[in-house]
Structures are given as C-alpha cells and as structure tokens.
C-alpha cells in the first residue's frame, strides 16, 4: 500500500504541482485548501506525512501544525513546511510548532521527493 500524503495549500496551482510530483513517485495524495480543512483532515486520518504552506486564509500552516501536535496520536506525523517565507524567525517558529523540514518555494520536485523518501524511510 502506498503512503498517503496530505497537502495543504491555498493555491490550486501549488496543490496541482505537488500532486503531480508526489503521484509520479507513487504516493497517494489528499488535498486541503487551508489550515482549518487540513487540520480536520489530518485529525480524521493518519497520514504518512503532511506538506503544508504557511500563509493561508482561515488558519495558517503553523497554527495548523500546532493544533495537530496537541493530538497525542498525531504528534509524530512528519510535516514539511513549504513556503515562500525564509526568515530565520519563521523557520524557528516552524520548528517550535513541530515542523520536520522547511522548504522554500519554488520547490524543486527532485529535492522534495528526496526529502519525502528520506522521512518516510526513517518512519518505516
């Protein structure tokens, strides 16, 4: 069974790119378009990992991760933050909220996939 990955981004374009990238490597993908939907989805299902944007309407990605880490069964779900933000402060905040890795957009598919494979193999 292939890994299911949740992608949370308000941009349909980015979701589309992520979906293409991940599916091409054989992963299954679920989508949510803001942190609130993402949080609900990630609580409802145990995903192999989560890829989340920071700046989104309704609830941002870091708030979403914070909320998710409050659920004991979801503490260890790997989460990549994929964002245009690159300031040290933001990255530090991401780490505090339980992000596993930080990727600055625009992402390079091969690097994302390497990171995903690395994390999933570690989880296995």
């Amino acid at each position: 069974m292939s890994h299911r990955i949740l992608i949370v981004d308000d941009s349909a374009t980015v979701r589309h790119q992520l979906r293409d990238t991940l599916e091409s490597a054989g992963y299954e993908v679920a989508e949510a378009e803001n942190g609130a939907f993402g949080l609900q989805a990630a609580k409802a299902e145990l995903f192999a990992m989560i890829i989340v944007d920071v700046n989104m309407p309704v609830m941002n990605g870091l708030e979403m991760l914070e909320g998710l880490r409050e659920v004991p069964e979801r503490v260890n779900v790997p989460a990549f933050v994929l964002t245009t933000e690159s300031s040290k402060d933001m990255v530090a905040r991401g780490k505090k909220c339980g992000a596993t890795a930080w990727i600055v957009k625009p992402f390079r598919p091969e690097i994302l996939l390497k990171g995903v494979a690395h994390i999933l193999s570690k989880a296995a």
Partner: protein
Amino acid sequence: MTATASAQLLPVPEPAVQLCVVRERSALEVALESVLQRRGATDIKFEAVDESDEHQWCFGASLRLACDDGMVQDYALFASRENAETFVRWLYGFKAAHALNDVAVLDGIGETLNQLVGRIKEVWIQRYGTEPLLGTPKLLNADGCALYFATHRDATRTTASSEPWQRGLQVVAGERQDPATCALDEVLGLLEAAGDDVATLLRGQAALADVREHLIGELRVSAEHVLSWSSEQLGALINGAARDRSHITSALRTLREQVIKACRRHDFEIPTEADLVGLIAEFVEEARGLLESSRKELESGGPIAAQGLFRAMHTIKGNAGFFGLEQVQRLAHSTENMLAQARDRATPLDDGQVRAAGRSIALIGDFVERTAEKLESGGMVPYQRALDLHRALLDTAVASGISPVMDEAAAPAAAGRRDIEMVRVASTHLEALERIESDFAALMALAPATSATPESGDGTELESARADLVDLHGRLADACRSLRRVGLDRLFGKVRRLCAETAEHLGKLAQVNVLGDELDAPRHLTTALSGPLVHLARNAIDHGIEDPEERRQTGKPLLATIECRASWHGAWLLVEIGDDGRGVDPERVRSKAERLGLIAADAELSQQDVLGLLMAPGFSTAEKTTDISGRGVGLDVVRKEIEGVGGRVELHSTLGAGSTFRILLPESPQSPPFEDAGASASVEDEPPLDLADCGELTFL
C-alpha cells in the same frame, strides 16, 4: 448496479453456460493464434484472466497475450467498435484514443469472436430452449459487426477483473453513465450520506475534483464556475461555517443533467493516432494564426480594443481544453478574464493590460512552437512551470483588480501614499526650518535639566512645562527629518519598470520581487542610490539571467527572479539586488585581472577579494563587451558613487545559481561605522540574500 439495468442486460450466467464459455474460449484462442501468426507473431501464450467475470458477456472475452518480446498485453475483446470506443473513452480518457488501432488484425479476431458468440447462442438455445439474454442486441449483434480490441500495455496495472475494467464494462453496457456523471453521482451520494462527518465530506470534495478531471473541452470550461463554487461551498461545510447543503446538491444535480445532455450529443468517434496528430497540427496552425494577429494588434500602436484579442484567447482556450492542455487553457482563461473587463467597459486596453496580454501571447506562442517541434517525436513537454508561474501572476493580478503586469504588482501597497497631495518646496525653506530646529535643540540643552526646586513651590508646573517642550522638540525634529526623507517605493518602482522593459527587449522572462519599498531614506541616499541600482538591475537582466532556452536546459524555472530589498540596520541602510542567473566565475575574473596586471599571478586572494576585482577601476572599462559570465560593465562607477556617500558595495555570487550585490549606506556622515553600529551582528548573522537556496530543503 440497479435492478432494471441488470435485468435488461446481464443476467448472471448460470454455471453451465460459464463452462461453455471457457471451452469455447480455447477455440477462440486457436483462431486468434492463427490470425496473429499470420502477422508474424511467434510463441503466443494465452492466459485466461478471469473466468468468473460475469461481465465478459457484454464484451465477448478478455485474454492476456504473452508475446515473444517479453511484453505481456491484456486484451479486452469487444463485439463492436462502438462498444470498444465507449470503453476506451471511459478507461483512458480522450488522450489514449489511439489505443484502438490495427484495424485489419482486429477484423480477423472480430470475425472469430462473432462465430463464438453465435456458438454460445446455439448452446444456450439447445439447453434452455430460449434465446439467451446476453445483453442488449447491439452488444452481441453478430451481423456485419467487426470486433475491435483495446490494448493496455501495462499488464500489471489493469486486468479484466480489476475494478476500473469492471466499471468500464458497466459503462459499455449502459448500466453506468459517463465517468463525469458517475463522479457527480458519487459526490451527491457522499453529500447525502455524510451528515457532519468531515472525512466523508472530504471524500466528497475529492470526488468533486474527479468530476473536473473527467469533463473535457468546452464542457469543462462551462462547468468550471459551478465546480469551483461547489467546492467552495463544500469547503464551508467541512469547515463548519455552513450547514445547509441543499443549494450545493441542487446545483450539482443541474450540472449532472447538463453533462448527460452534452454527452448524448457528443459523438463518440475517437480519432486514431494519425488523426490525433493531424488534429494537433491543425491546432498549432490555428493558434499560430490567432497569436500572430493578436501580436500585430498589440503592436499597432493605436488604442487597442479587447474584442479581437478576447476572441483569440477564447478559441485557444477551447482548443487547448480539447487536448487536455490544461496549463495553456488556464493561461488563456486568465487572460480572457482580464480582457473581458476591458471589453465590458468598452475601454481600450491600458499599458499594463497590453503588456500582460503580450506576455501571455508570448508564453502560449512558446508552447505552441514547442508542441509543433514535438509533433514528430511524439512526446509533449509543456512549459508547465513557466506557465504555472505566469498564471499565478495573472490570477493574483486579476483578483486584486490591478492590471497583471509585473512592474505594477506593488501598486496597492503604495496606493495609500499616492493619494496624498504632493507639494514642491524650495530647499531654502527647508533649511530655514532645520535651522529653527537646531536652535531649539541648542536652547533645550542650555535649560537646566531640573529647574524645579522644592522651594520654588511651582516646581511641578515647571517640570510638566519642560516635559511638554521636550516632547514638542522631539516632534519638530522628527518632522524635519522626514522632510529630508523620501520613500524607496519610487526608486524601486523604477527598478521594476526597467527590469520589465529590459527583459522584454531582450526576450527574457523575469519577475521582480521587491521588499522594503515601504521604507524611506534621506534624499541624498536615494539620489546616490538611483544610478547604481538602475545600473545593477539592468546588468542583472542583461548579463545575470540566462535566456529562457538556456534556463530550460539547466532545469531552472523559465521565469527568472530579480530580488530587490532594503532594510535599516541602525544608522545604515542595506540595499540588496540579486538574481538567480548564471553567477560569476571567480576563476575567469582572476585570470582576467592577472592579464590586465591588476593583481600578481601568485597573489593570494579570497573568493570575496576576487569578486571585488570586478568593481576595481580599470577592470570593466578595459573591455566593454562582457565576456565574464554575468557581470562587468561600469561596476567601478557603481562603487565610486556608493563610496561617494560613505557607503560600500559587495558582490556575493554562486556560479550557476546567481549573484547578489549588497550596498551599505550610512544615514549621515556622522553615522557610527557600520561595524560599531550595533547592527553588524544582526546583518552578518543573516546570510546574504542567496537565491541559490530557493527550493532547498532544511531539516529542522
């Protein structure tokens, strides 16, 4: 499967009949073998895929061929071309239509299968005395009906017993609607069953995305707004922001009716590969014509009406949708939206719209030309990244109601400031005001810090009056300072415009990101900065970034990025301008400097020192045409101007990944040295703006 449909179509075959099919299948295999051998195939193996598959009735048979080249192929045999086409359309979508091929061999097999079907009928009648209910007459009508099959090269993915085939067969049998309608049914079913269950609602949202996937061409475009609206509403449901779902279901039901109607009208004729190539060639030709006339219209110089451009984009959008060229379709769609605004207001296009339309036309043109190139080799490489990026720009621009051109993207941020009426004041008036301020300051310094004594009795009053004076002086000093300062937005705006113009002129694709243009700086700094910044920006476009073809070959995003940002660090202004272009090769700089006699051959220099040589007097002036990758013209002039106001400039560069110039300027000649300003640590801690890092991943 509903009861009526199955009664009409597929009675569950009784075991005896199943056996009969299995026996007869081997006869079919013999016949197939002879057909294939006649065509030169050897070592043909047959493998029954799923004998208990009840649906085999409606399409005759399925079998697996192991060919001598090691390739395993699954075949589904259909009793008519129509069935096969419907099935293939369901299974592959339009793009794989060419899977139906090789009519001659298929006709041979069809003949055999039709005999088989006749034989089954005979057996059934002998045994039961009635005509078998093998399906609707058209499915097993042997009269003059050739048989076709679809091949599926990836045998591991799909076998006759796997779910997609089963569902495909149901479509063939007429038990199911077309895939889009099926997906709509799924959404409606999930919506009904979900209640407040978020997981089910999310599945509904995913199914809604499937609907979009299954709709093709014009149908997709016209359904787009219903789908996105429904998706939004469904989002509100999931989010708990709304509870009533009746309006979504009624909209989706209406859409479902429209889809069914459209599908009935739709001619299921599926082109062969050759037809498809012909169609694409036609698309290319038509698009070239439309783009060419649009380009002429844009370049005509007079006021441009949106109508003609709008029609061209609309046609391209429709055609692109037909071929599933989603990126082109969306780009054309965004451009069309933008043009529609101008058309509806009946106003000619403004400059921004003209430039945006020009850029869309150029991008689509690129894609079309690439498609034309690929037509012969058979592969398609869409300019996906560039198109995505560009579309994102267009989308943002349309959403914020501004014309989608890069150099005006910052307009809303600065809009507030532009509303203020600007006045011109003679500098002597400013100087007079400043003198008053400095006299005031001197006076304040003379006044005793604590004039109030306990004996004076009115100490509190005096104290409070003095505090008011201090406050007033502070405000006066601030006002004077701000009179001497100007916003960076104007200068950065100029940089944007210049980059856009230069890029357009040189046929390069670039976007300019600006940070910190809300800051202001003393006028003498912005004046000193203006020339160098413009020079560096033009250099970045001209020499720094590669042309689109070179970027494509090196795997970079076609749309290059120029970043221009400013920040205050204590009394020092830091301005950086960087690109993600080809960077500077320190080796070449060094060897050229040696040749020019600027350094000794054995001089020990850090990389930073070597890059600094680019700005040495005599380096760039010695050779006007730049052969150093990226940089080189007049950089000594840039350095002279910056140093003229007490500043300094550094170059950071990574070969292949881009260059960044950092300019440091003191607020006034009295500013403490940068290193002592208490700000150096915070700046040096921060790595220089390094665009090479874009897209990198950092584990935390």
